[in-house]
Amino acid sequence: MCSFLEWKELKIVYKRYASLYFCCAIEQQDNELLCLEVIHRYVELLDKYFGSVCELDIIFNFEKAYFMLDEFILGGEVQETSKKNVLKAIAAQDLLQEDSNEPKSVLEDLGLANIASALSS
C-alpha cells in the first residue's frame, strides 16, 4: 500500500508502528518521503525517552509527547533533526522538575509492564 493519499488540498502521509498510529497532513509541494522520516524520527525520540515506547507511555505522559513534539517540530516545520539535541532539551526540562521524589516510572508503579517494543524498522 502507498503511504500517501490526497485529501482535499492536502496530502495525508501515514505510518503505523505496532500499536502506534501516526499521520501528518502536508501541503502539495511538501516532500512525502521525508515526512515519513519525520514520523520515524519522532518515534525514535519517543522510544529513546520512554524506552521501548508503547501507547500507554503516550497516554500517561501525553504532556511529554507534546513537549517533545515542540522541540522537534515548530509551526509545522522541522526545527531540530538531531536526536541528541532534542533529547538534551527534554532532559534539561526534566531537571527543572522540582519534586522528583518518585524515582520509579509511573507505569511500573501502577503495575503495568511495558508492552513489547513497537518500534520496527
Partner: protein, 985 residues
C-alpha cells in the same frame, strides 16, 4: 522517566479501567465536579495542585469532552516561577484556548514577560506558544520583536531556532506585520551558521520571506548552493548527529533545494556549475549501492533525490539533467516500493510538460498504462491517470484515450468524474478525425453517464454544430446509441438535440425514417426528468420543421394532457407554444423560426474549468510549467449571460410569436451557449473571434491561450484608499459623502451628451446656466464648471457641494474643489475648478449640488457631474493577433458584458465612429471579418492600475439594433462601459 503527578496517573488509570462509555462519563463528571470545587474552594491551591488539575482538564479535553472552566487557573500558572507549572499552563493554552478568548490579553502579557526573560528556557516556552497559536493579534504584538532574538549575537542556538520558526508562523498569519528590516542580510547569513539546527530552522523562514521579496533575498542563492555543496560532498560521519541513516542532513538538503526553487537558474556561471555539480552528485548517489538496507536510508536518500528532480524541473534549462532525472524516475516506475512508484508518476507528470523531457517521458507510456491496469492502490492509479493525461499529445492520443476509456469501466467511483473530464478534453484537443471524437464522447456517456457533467455533452453538441463534416455521422451514431434497450439520460439529451438539428441527414435510410426517429426519442420520454423532457419537446418541434409528414404525431404528443397540462411550467409552456406553432404556422414561418442553429462562437472548453475545479493543484502545476499545457479558466460558463440575454432577445421580435423564444429556449436548455443562438441574426454568422482565435480550424478549440496579460498591471486599490480618504476630509466642505443629495437630479439628458465629449452646457434654466469644460490626462482630470448668472440681480449665498451618493466613491475618486465665491453678480460668470484623481474603477456618479438665494428665495439644483469611467480611458492600438489574444483572455463570464439593444440614434457609421473615438476607445480595422462591425480597445488608467478593455459593436441595420460586447479585466468595468456606450448610439 520522571513524573510526579500521581493523581493524574491514577485518574487516567481509572478511566482506562471503565467498562462502558457510561462508566467513563460518570468518572469524568465526578472528576470535573471535584476540580471545580477545588478551584472554587476557600483553600488556596498551591502551584503543584493547580498544575495537576489543569493537566487533568487537558486530558479530559483530549478525550473529546468540552471544558468550560479552568482557563483562568491555566493562565495563572504562567506566572509561576516553576518551569513545569509554566510549561503545563502554556500547553493548556496552546491546545485549548481559542484565539479570541477574553483571557488572551492576559496570556499575551505573560508571553511578553517571558520573551523578555533572561532565562532562555522561558523565552523558548513563549516562542513555542506563539508559534502554536499564531493568531493575528500575536503577530501584531510580537512580529516586530522576534527578529531581534533571531539575529542577536548572544541569543542561544535553541532560542534562534524557535524564533525563526515562530516568526515564520506569524509571517504566514499576517505577512504585513513582519517588518522588512536591516536584519534581512543577517537572516540570510544564518545559512552559514555553524549550528546545523539553526540553519535548518532558518531556511524555512527564508523560503517564506523570499516569496515576498525575492530581490532582497537574492544573496541566499549562492549561500544555499555552497551549503548544499558542503552537505552532498561530505561523508556521512562528518555531520555526526545530523546524518540520518547514512544520509547527510536530509532535512536541510531538502529545504535548501526547495528554497532554490524560488529562483531561476543562477546567472553566474561558477555558481550555476556548482549547483549542477550538486545535482549530479545527488543523481549519482541514487545509483550507488545502498549503504543500508533499512527503509529509512532509502527514504531519506530518495527524498533528497526527488527534491533535486523538482529543482531540475523547475529550472527547466539543462537538458542532460532533465533526461537523467527522467530515466531515474523511469526506474522507480517499476520499483517494488509502492511509495516510490507513486512519487515517480507524480514527478514525471511535471517532466512531461518540459519540452526537453516530454519525449523521454513518452517512452514510459507502456509502463504507465500497466500501472493504470494493475496497481492495487487507488492513489497510485490516480497518479497514472494524471501522467497519461500530461504525456498525451497528437501522436498517442487515440491510444491513451482508448486506455482511459477501458479503465473507466472499472475505475473507482471517486475518480470517475475527473477521468471523464480528462478523456473529454484529450479527445477534443487532439481530434484530427471528428468521428473519433464523437465516438469517444458517446462512449463516455455510455460507460459512465452519471459522471458526464453538463459541460461534456454541451461541448459535443457545440462541436457537431460547428463541423458540418461530422453532422451526418453524429446523427447516425446517436440514433444507433438510442436503439440500445437502456440508455443514459445524457444520451437522450444529446440524441434529442442532434436528431432535432440533423435528423434529416439520416432520414433517407429506411431504418432511421422520420417516424422511427421520433418514435425512438419518444420511447425514452417518459423515463426522463423534466429538463430532458423539455429539451425533447424542442427537438420534436424541430422535427416538425424537418419532416412535415410526422407533424400530426407530434401535435398529438404536444396536446396530450401530460404535456399541455403538466405541472412543470416549463414543459407546459413549451407544449402550448410549440403546439400553436405547429398548428398555425406556414412552412415558411416554421423554416425561419426553426432554422438550424448557427455555429457557436469559438471559445475555450468549459470542461477545463471543471477539471481545474476538481484538481486545482495538478492542473495548476501543469499549467505553471509549459506553455503547451497552459489553460485559462474557461469562459464557457456564461450561464448568466445567456440567461439574461434571452428575454432581451425575445422582446424585439415578438411579432414572430413563440418563434424566437423557441430558439432561445433551446439555447436556454443549454446554459452554456452564447447569445448568438438567440435568434437575432447579426449579419456575419461566424463571429470574427472564431476565425481569428481558433487557429486550428473551425471546430477545434484553442485550449492553449496563456494567462491574462494585457500589458497592463492592476494592483489592489487599497493603497489608494488612504490618500482618497484624506483628500475627502481635507475638502470636507465641498465634498460630501452619502445620500445627502437635496432635491431630485435635473439635467439628465444633457449629462448623457458628456459621455462622448468634454465641453458644453450641462444645465440651464431661467436663472442659471451651468457650463462644463474638462480635460483628462491619464488618471487625473480637471473639470471647470462655469456658473453663469442670467439675471440682472446677483445670486447670493452661492455654494456648490460635490456629493458622493455611493460611499465606495470615496475610495475610488480623489476630488479636490477650488470653491467659488459666495456670490455671483448680475450677468456675471464664475468658474469653479474641480480636480479629480481616479484611484480605482468606479460606476456611481458624483452629484453637484448648487445652492443660492435669488430674490429672497433659496434655490437648490442637483446635477450629475459629467464624470464617467471612460474619461480615464486612453485608446489603444493593436494588431489583430494581439486583439484576439486579449479578447479570449478576458472572456470569463464576469469580465464580459454583452448588451443587445435598439439603436437610439440613426445608424450612421461615421457618426458612430466619432462617438466611439470620443468615448475613448480606438477603432481597429481589419480585425472583424464583417466590415460593418466596430472593434477597438482602450486602457482605463487609475492610480491603482490600468484596466485593459476591448469592445465589439455589431450593428443590425434591418432590426435597427446593436449588439455590444465589452471585455475588460475588471468585472465592473465591462458592465459600466457597456451601459455608458449603449446610451450614446
Amino acid at each position: 522517566v520522571k513524573d510526579s503527578m500521581r493523581g493524574l496517573a491514577v485518574f487516567i488509570s481509572d478511566i482506562r479501567n471503565c467498562k462502558s462509555k457510561e462508566a467513563e462519563e460518570k468518572r469524568i463528571n465526578k472528576e470535573l465536579a471535584n476540580i471545580r470545587s477545588k478551584f472554587k474552594g476557600d483553600k488556596a491551591l498551591d502551584g503543584y495542585q493547580k498544575k495537576k488539575y489543569v493537566c487533568k482538564l487537558l486530558f479530559i479535553f483530549l478525550l473529546g469532552n468540552d471544558i468550560d472552566f479552568g482557563h483562568m487557573e491555566a493562565v495563572n500558572l504562567l506566572n509561576s516561577n516553576k518551569y513545569t507549572e509554566k510549561q503545563i499552563g502554556y500547553l493548556f493554552i496552546s491546545v485549548l484556548i481559542s484565539e479570541n478568548n477574553e483571557l488572551m490579553r492576559l496570556v499575551q502579557q505573560n508571553l511578553k514577560n517571558d520573551l523578555a526573560s533572561r532565562n532562555p528556557v522561558h523565552v523558548n516556552l513563549a516562542l513555542e506558544c506563539i508559534a502554536n497559536i499564531g493568531s493575528k493579534e500575536m503577530a501584531e504584538m510580537f512580529a516586530p520583536e522576534i527578529p531581534k532574538l533571531l539575529v542577536m549575537g548572544d541569543a542561544g542556538d535553541t532560542v534562534k531556532q524557535s524564533a525563526a520558526l515562530c516568526l515564520l508562523k506569524l509571517f504566514r498569519t499576517a505577512p504585513e506585520m513582519v517588518p522588512i528590516g536591516d536584519w534581512t542580510s543577517r537572516v540570510i547569513h544564518l545559512l552559514n551558521d555553524q549550528h546545523m539546527g539553526v540553519v535548518t530552522a532558518a531556511v524555512s523562514l527564508i523560503e517564506a520571506l523570499v516569496k515576498r521579496n525575492p530581490d532582497d533575498f537574492k544573496g541566499c542563492v549562492s549561500l544555499s548552493i555552497s551549503r548544499l555543496a558542503r552537505i552532498v560532498t561530505s561523508s556521512y560521519t562528518d555531520l555526526q548527529d545530523y546524518t540520518y541513516y547514512f544520509v547527510p542532513a536530509p532535512w536541510l538538503s531538502v529545504k535548501l533545494l526547495r528554497l532554490l526553487q524560488n529562483y531561476p537558474p543562477p546567472e553566474d556561471t561558477t555558481v550555476r556549475n556548482r549547483l549542477a555539480e550538486c545535482l549530479e552528485t545527488i543523481l549519482n548517489k541514487a545509483v550507488e549501492p545502498p549503504k543500508s538496507k533499512k527503509v529509512q536510508h532509502s527514504n531519506a536518500k530518495n527524498a533528497v533525490l526527488f527534491e533535486a528532480i523538482s529543482l531540475i524541473i523547475h529550472m527547466d534549462s539543462d537538458p542532460s539533467l532533465l533526461v537523467r532525472a527522467c530515466s531515474q524516475l523511469g526506474q522507480f516506475l517499476s520499483n517494488r516500493e509502492t511509495n516510490l512508484r507513486y512519487l515517480a508518476l507524480e514527478s514525471m507528470c511535471l517532466l512531461a510538460t518540459s519540452e526537453f523531457s516530454h519525449d523521454a517521458v513518452k517512452r514510459h507510456q507502456e509502463t504507465v498504462v500497466t500501472a493504470l491496469k494493475s496497481e492495487r492502490d487507488v492513489s497510485v492509479r490516480q497518479r497514472a491517470v494524471d501522467l497519461l493525461y500530461a504525456m498525451c499529445d497528437r501522436s498517442n492520443a487515440e491510444e491513451i484515450v482508448g486506455e482511459m476509456l477501458t479503465y473507466l469501466e472499472t475505475a473507482d467511483y471517486s475518480i470517475r468524474g475527473e477521468l471523464v473530464l480528462k478523456i473529454a478534453i484529450l479527445a477534443e484537443k487532439y481530434a484530427s478525425d471528428y468521428t473519433w471524437y464523437v465516438d469517444t464522447i458517446l462512449n463516455l456517456i455510455r460507460l459512465a453517464g452519471d459522471f458526464v457533467s453538463e459541460e461534456v455533452w454541451y461541448r459535443v453538441i457545440q462541436i457537431v454544430i460547428n463541423r458540418e463534416d461530422v453532422q451526418a455521422y453524429a446523427a447516425k451514431t446517436v440514433f444507433e446509441a438510442l436503439e440500445a434497450p437502456a440508455c443514459h439520460e445524457n444520451m437522450v439529451k444529446v440524441g434529442g438535440y442532434i436528431l432535432g438539428e440533423f435528423g434529416n441527414l439520416i432520414a433517407g435510410d429506411a431504418r432511421s425514417s422520420p417516424s422511427t426517429q421520433f418514435q425512438l426519442l419518444h420511447g425514452k420520454f417518459h423515463l426522463c426528468s423534466p429538463p430532458t423532457r423539455a429539451l425533447l419537446l424542442s427537438a420534436y418541434i424541430k422535427l416538425v420543421n424537418l419532416f412535415p409528414e410526422i407533424r400530426e404525431d407530434i401535435i398529438a404528443v404536444l396536446e396530450s394532457d401530460a404535456n399541455l397540462r403538466n405541472s412543470n411550467v416549463e414543459i407546459q409552456q413549451r407544449a402550448s407554444e410549440y403546439l400553436s406553432l405547429a398548428r398555425n404556422s406556414t412552412q415558411d414561418v416554421l423554416a425561419t423560426v426553426l432554422e438550424e442553429m448557427p455555429p457557436f462562437p469559438e471559445r475555450e472548453s468549459s470542461i477545463l474549468a471543471q477539471l481545474r475545479k476538481k484538481k486545482p493543484a495538478v492542473e495548476d502545476a501543469i499549467r505553471a510549467r509549459g506553455e503547451k499545457q497552459q489553460q485559462r479558466p474557461a469562459s464557457g460558463a456564461a450561464d448568466g449571460a445567456a440567461a439574461s440575454a434571452a428575454p432581451t432577445a425575445a422582446t424585439p421580435t415578438s411579432g414572430g410569436g413563440g418563434g424566437v423564444k423557441l430558439q432561445g429556449d433551446i439555447a436556454g436548455a443549454e446554459s452554456n451557449t452564447d447569445s448568438d443562438l438567440l435568434g437575432l441574426d447579426f449579419g456575419g454568422s461566424a463571429p470574427a473571434a472564431a476565425a481569428g482565435g481558433g487557429g486550428a480550424g473551425g471546430g477545434s478549440v484553442d485550449l492553449l491561450s496563456s494567462i491574462l496579460d494585457v500589458g497592463v498591471s492592476s494592483s489592489s486599490s487599497s493603497s489608494a484608499a488612504p490618500s482618497a480618504a484624506s483628500g475627502a476630509s481635507a475638502q470636507r466642505k465641498t465634498v460630501v459623502v452619502g445620500a445627502g443629495a437635496s432635491g431630485s437630479i435635473v439635467g439628465e439628458e444633457n449629462w448623457h451628451k458628456f459621455v462622448c465629449k468634454n465641453s458644453g452646457v450641462l444645465y440651464e434654466n431661467d436663472i442659471l446656466q451651468v457650463g462644463v469644460k474638462c480635460d483628462y490626462q491619464q488618471s487625473s482630470g480637471r473639470i471647470v464648471v462655469y456658473y453663469g448668472n442670467k439675471t440682472p440681480a446677483p445670486l447670493a449665498q452661492f455654494a456648490s457641494v460635490i456629493n458622493l451618493p455611493d460611499s465606495s466613491l470615496t475610495n475610488q475618486l480623489g476630488i479636490q474643489v477650488k470653491p467659488v465665491g459666495d456670490r455671483v453678480g448680475a450677468s456675471e460668470q464664475v468658474n469653479e475648478v474641480i480636480t479629480v484623481d481616479c484611484m480605482a474603477e468606479f460606476s456611481a456618479c458624483p452629484l453637484l449640488n448648487i445652492r443660492f438665494v435669488y430674490s429672497g428665495v433659496a434655490q437648490s439644483i442637483t446635477l450629475k457631474l459629467p464624470l464617467t469611467i471612460n474619461k480615464f480611458m486612453q485608446s489603444s492600438e493593436m494588431d489583430s493577433a494581439t486583439f484576439f489574444q486579449h479578447w479570449k483572455q478576458l472572456s470569463q463570464p464576469e469580465q464580459e458584458c454583452q448588451k443587445i439593444f435598439q439603436a437610439k440614434f440613426p445608424m450612421d457609421a461615421e457618426t458612430t465612429k466619432t462617438k466611439i473615438l470620443g468615448f475613448g476607445f480606438s477603432l481597429l480595422s481589419n480585425i472583424d471579418s464583417n466590415p460593418a462591425n466596430f472593434v477597438g480597445a482602450g486602457i482605463v488608467q487609475t492610480k491603482s492600475g490600468n484596466i485593459g478593455s476591448l469592445f465589439r459593436l455589431e450593428p443590425n441595420q434591418q432590426a435597427q439594433m446593436y449588439r455590444l460586447t465589452v471585455h475588460s479585466i475588471k468585472p465592473g468595468v465591462s458592465k459600466r462601459l457597456c451601459e455608458l456606450l449603449e446610451t450614446q448610439i
